[in-house]
């Protein structure tokens, strides 16, 4: 296996009487698409929150690109190359699609400081040109001027992805990118993620099993805060524990 880009060790988190994560060991190899699946309430989103830095674990550590990032704040983790999308669409609804992505480009370390008080952002053509490129990449090239709030749900999901991409991540954390999208939009999203996977490592949390089995190089299964299995799609499909705990007979 290639060197792990993301390495989560013995991660535990308790909320009141609930053990949300129980000593989870998990790694994502550079270049792979690693899917994290599990029934509702298994702790997938909690896990993503801990990886992205939105929440702090009770114990255990998160390593990224060979560096312990457990104590880094969310914005610092973005700066070292981790970007996330949200399960519930989380974009700036009052801004145009282009402004949304431009804001993401502007936030990047290589775009320079944002403690600039005088020059109007409107004059920074490079910022918007690059933002437009990301919009084109996710298929929103002709929606640049539309307010994010007026885009369809599927387009908002794509916009969210463009914003994550604009931070130039090494690792993309996608929390249910297909959530709430129709079959056509889902298919488009799968294609898009397939394209992205050529350039960036992806940790994908998803309920849509067709998408997961089509995209993932490896799959990990989280049940009640415990990681019960990691392996290739084939191995996971045939794992007796997984079948018992989660997949039932759909596979």
């Amino acid at each position: 296996m290639a060197e792990a880009l993301l390495d989560v060790r013995q991660l535990s988190r308790r909320f009141a009487a609930v053990d949300a994560l129980k000593a989870v060991n998990f790694s994502v190899a550079a270049g792979e698409v690693h899917a994290l699946i599990g029934p509702n309430g298994a702790g997938k989103t909690t896990f993503i929150h801990h990886v992205s830095g939105a929440l702090q674990p009770d114990s255990g550590s998160v390593h990224f690109a060979g560096r312990d990032v457990t104590r880094l704040a969310m914005h610092e983790r973005v700066r070292v190359g981790m970007a996330r999308s949200y399960q519930i669409t989380n974009v700036f609804l009052g801004l145009s699609a282009l402004d949304n992505v431009a804001l993401a480009v502007q936030g990047r370390a290589d775009a320079g400081s944002s403690f600039r008080f005088w020059r109007p952002v409107r004059q920074e053509a490079a910022l918007f040109a690059e933002a437009q490129d990301y919009l084109v990449q996710v298929g929103l090239g002709n929606k640049a001027g539309s307010l994010a709030g007026q885009l369809s749900h599927g387009e908002q999901r794509a916009l969210e992805l463009a914003m994550a991409l604009a931070t130039k991540p090494q690792l993309l954390l996608l929390d249910e990118p297909m959530a709430g999208t129709g079959p056509e939009e889902s298919a488009r999203m799968v294609e898009l993620i397939e394209q992205l996977a050529r350039h960036v490592t992806i940790l994908l949390v998803e309920h849509d099993m067709d998408a997961v089995f089509r995209l993932a190089d490896r799959i990990s299964v989280l049940v009640n805060g415990e990681l019960i299995c990691t392996g290739t799609p084939e191995e996971v499909k045939n794992d007796a524990g997984v079948r018992r705990a989660y997949l039932g007979d759909h596979l």
């Binding site: 704040a73 700066r79 009052g94």
Partner: protein
């Protein structure tokens, strides 16, 4: 909400108003109404103070109920400078901004770790602490405050003429509004507004949210300090009452009446509120009732403030 955008005629209107303001002292003098030059100066100073709060509240989304503390701090710095023999505004005013800004930096560094109602309460608590500090500071006059023996000089010119102080206040307000207008459109302003709209998302794009908020809070404090130093020159007194929470409340009301998050919200609010006070105070001592009704009217019929009636903020 979207990013701030100047209304279509905003630049033209503000330039016209600036020209009118430049002519105001001579017009008032010609009509023998010199008394109102002092009043107009007060309006300009409060327009500056309210605008500095609007940066914090309207653009930064931070509901501070302690903003008067920075106004008061600026006033005291001016008075203390004079006590120490520094009578030059070019030294005293920047000193007031620096001290008030650093004070705000300290208050912000602690308060900005909280959110919502806790933030309101903690800023209020800091302001009241500062208030009691000045009330008990004997060497600075205790609750009588510290008076200025005369107005300061600005680059050697005396501000003792009412019109001279008026022009100084007008210059300060104009420079501040130009700066705030640029800032709102620049990277910093956009980041600040993005944080106001969606803090988590902005942080997830890699922005150190706390730092941006803190800088905005300190900037707001610094410009409130400038207003305070001007006010001390106008009234000849740095009083602890300037730091009272009621004063912070007045600034908040100005911003709300004028338009939260509109560049000129603070200016419009200060003009409306002070003119109302001035015209009603002679008629009835219960003028606060009218103010209450006006506030109700604004909330019900122009919830975005008076400035919003003149132009849209959204693109």
């Amino acid at each position: 909400m979207a990013f701030y955008q100047a209304a279509r005629w905003q630049k033209a209107i503000s330039l016209a108003l600036l020209v009118a303001a430049l002519a105001l002292p001579s017009v008032l003098t010609a009509f023998g109404q010199e008394f109102y030059i002092g009043f107009a100066t007060r309006v300009l100073i409060f327009a500056l103070a309210a605008s500095s709060l609007n940066l914090v509240l309207g653009f930064g989304g931070m509901v501070s109920l302690g903003h008067a503390a920075f106004l008061g701090a600026g006033a005291y710095v001016a008075a203390i400078c004079q006590q120490a023999g520094i009578n030059e505004a070019l030294i005293a005013f920047p000193a007031a901004m620096l001290v008030a800004g650093l004070f705000a930096l300290g208050v912000g560094a602690i308060s900005l770790r909280t959110r919502g109602v806790y933030f309101i309460m903690i800023t209020l608590a800091f302001a009241q602490m500062a208030y009691y500090l000045f009330v008990s500071a004997r060497s600075w006059g205790g609750d009588d405050g510290l008076s200025l023996s005369s107005r300061m000089t600005l680059a050697g010119f005396s501000l003792s003429e009412d019109s001279a102080l008026f022009f100084a206040a007008l210059a300060a307000l104009t420079a501040t509004m130009v700066l705030f207008g640029r800032l709102a459109d620049a990277r910093f302003g956009r980041t600040l507004q993005a944080i106001r709209e969606n803090e988590t998302r902005t942080e997830a794009l890699g922005y150190p949210v706390f730092r941006y908020r803190l800088v905005a809070f300190a900037l707001g404090g610094a410009f409130a300090g400038l207003a305070g130093a001007l006010l001390a020159n106008l009234t000849g007194l740095a009083s602890p009452n300037l730091l009272q929470w009621t004063q912070s409340g007045t600034l908040l009301v100005m911003v709300i009446i004028g338009g939260v998050g509109y560049l000129y919200g603070g200016v419009v609010g200060a003009v409306v509120l002070l003119m109302l006070e001035e015209s009603l105070v002679g008629v009835t001592e219960h003028w606060h009732i009218v103010l209450g009704l006006l506030l109700l009217g604004v909330v019900l019929f122009a919830p975005k403030g008076v400035a919003a009636l003149f132009g849209k903020k959204h693109g």
